[in-house]
Subunit: 435 residues, 2 copies
Amino acid sequence: MPKLITTQTRIADLGKPRVIIIGGGFGGLEVAKGLVGTQTQTVLFDKYNHHCFQPLLYQVATSALETSSIVFPFRKHFRNTHDFYFRLGEVTAIKPETRCIETSIGSVKYDYLVIASGAETNFYGLKDVEQNSHPMKTIIDAIKLRNIIIRNFETALLTDDKELMNSLMDFVIVGGGPTGVELAGAISELKHDIFPKDYPELEVSQMDIHIVEATPRLLNGMSEEAGTKALEYLKKMGVHVHLNTAVKSYDGHEVLMSTGEKLISRTLIWAAGVKGNPVAGLKAEAFGRSSRLLVDEFNRVKGYDNIFAIGDVALMEGVDPKFPKGHPMMAPPAQQQGELVAKNICRLINKKEMKPFRYFDKGSMATIGRNRAVVDLKAFKFQGFFAWFVWMFVHLMSLIGFRNKFFVLLSWLWSYFSFDKSNRLIIARPKDGVQ
Amino acid sequence: MPKLITTQTRIADLGKPRVIIIGGGFGGLEVAKGLVGTQTQTVLFDKYNHHCFQPLLYQVATSALETSSIVFPFRKHFRNTHDFYFRLGEVTAIKPETRCIETSIGSVKYDYLVIASGAETNFYGLKDVEQNSHPMKTIIDAIKLRNIIIRNFETALLTDDKELMNSLMDFVIVGGGPTGVELAGAISELKHDIFPKDYPELEVSQMDIHIVEATPRLLNGMSEEAGTKALEYLKKMGVHVHLNTAVKSYDGHEVLMSTGEKLISRTLIWAAGVKGNPVAGLKAEAFGRSSRLLVDEFNRVKGYDNIFAIGDVALMEGVDPKFPKGHPMMAPPAQQQGELVAKNICRLINKKEMKPFRYFDKGSMATIGRNRAVVDLKAFKFQGFFAWFVWMFVHLMSLIGFRNKFFVLLSWLWSYFSFDKSNRLIIARPKDGVQ
């Protein structure tokens, strides 16, 4: 029987400059879109065969959206384009000296390399937390969390042990950024609109949702007003917010906080931080804080002239006066850097001057359940129903593909008027447990 | 740390006759629907927290529909009903002498028991086939198959070995029943409409789809005309149909057929047969052929007065002159038996005579890709576009819940006009391989 996995990537040599993009997130996708149809050969490597719209992962985790609505197959996106190559595989190392990368499916040479491998969850060295908590970075994380939330309630039914029952019904979210705040809001909607009807045998009113945030406020990336309003909204929704509080340890049952206070919960969702997710093989001098790659104003990785890094994995320090310590790890900087890097690579090929990156800050937003959101724009800041409407519109428009936009819109309309979240499914073989 | 799984089902004693239903498929669901709100306590056990509309599994496997469109959470279905209890768990044994069942979450007593545990794939003792082939019975099977089909093509790109490449692009379906025929049609649509654009690097025209059927014709459950037309359709679509041919062995690469002929394929889909999926604990005399439970005209299991079996797991021999060897293992008999058993249990409780089962055969149908289906009704048989339209309408109407109907209809309209199947996703962690 011939062996299944070959050790060659079989990327045809087109005699054109080859640009390899590592990762098809918001940044990598823009690079690819900017390069297809130019004089380059575009090669995209990703561990998954689809782009994932991470800002809506929390809605998959809370049964509001189906998986397929927020992911988009790369090949579908780039069909009918020329000189574009997708490879499903993991990039394990970069060999700058030979201008090639090592991957799970073999090695391949590049003329230009764009590292857009994004970020991974940062547990800040808390081993027990890493082992026992649930991250929220990938579509698999979201599906697992959905399974866990529902299975917890099915299991809570089975015990007389009040402490165990509550530990299954309670949720602790660590991190008061957009992910934590949006997740807390969505879980509290489950508590108020869904679970009382689904679980008449349980006292769902006993369900507690906690947010633990180490700093004095929520939504640090946003304005004071936004943080205050988010806090007000969450309290209205019955979410317990612990500010100035860090998590010290978690054994899968007991959360020990820096205040000495303890919370009992079977489910700790870790949304407290991310770090760069770089690829091995680059010099130590190329790395900045939290595993991010130091880049110049053209997103060139420090010490290399044909290797670029963009988005969460890149750290552009001391360039943008508004962001001297680097840009926020969100979609817009990644997308804007991706667009520019595509153009700059073409300029390099044509022996033209590259253009430096200038971040256009469109502002930021977060939603906290129906009719409630906070929006910071350059010009003005607003909260409430209109903000919520703007949040929906912007996210809808940012989704790839008309079909996804259309189905997400319908799902939202449906949930809005029915107060229902229809995908409360455990999609896992029984023997898989909560996996 | 208190242990998580308790050994009690914690089903309240309501002092009412308790009816336990094992399995929430087409049959079990009808029993539950018929019993809620009566003088009984209805308890439904299932390994999953949702009902699955199995007739459309093949569309999930071929990227046409998203998972959530064909499954429906039990609790959502029965919310706002009284005296209904759902338990997520596996029933491991029946103890008729003590009128209780053993489950993965503990044991519980019943007054009446309805076994609706359905069918499982029958490999007829072919161990190597069982190990290396893919069944198509559960939503997990469908998702795995979708992952496999797409991953095969991603892997085929990577090899120069023509035999390996073809073995990844070719598919062998064993069984010419509705599942096999519908799956073959859908995979051939992938071949013609999707893969050529997604995989310009591959000669998709080289992709072969085989159906292997042991009897002289396709769709044995249906009319001669239906079988002949299905054969004609599949041939038109380029599917290789091997009639009067059985599969002898399969090592994951080479399919040996009873004709001595060999097919080379990495993917064998086993849709060749099912057998009853009963629960342990009943007397040997209760079992008929292929692990099905012998039942009388009231669906009472042979030798028991308060245990019923319905649907695929039940075998009602010598009762219906049209089906002396028992009813076909499809949804309609299960649903009709479920409805009647609910009524009959109420009659028993009220000391009334039970009514015997009379199967109303609505006919049967199968689809073979766009605009092509075969329909056998009592009165007349027809094929082609109108049949395809009827097939869609009937399946749409049979789906549970307006939302599912609505989203499936939209997905179908979308696919019809765009010639697209949008869910060609590998939803699995890279390390999970094709799982």
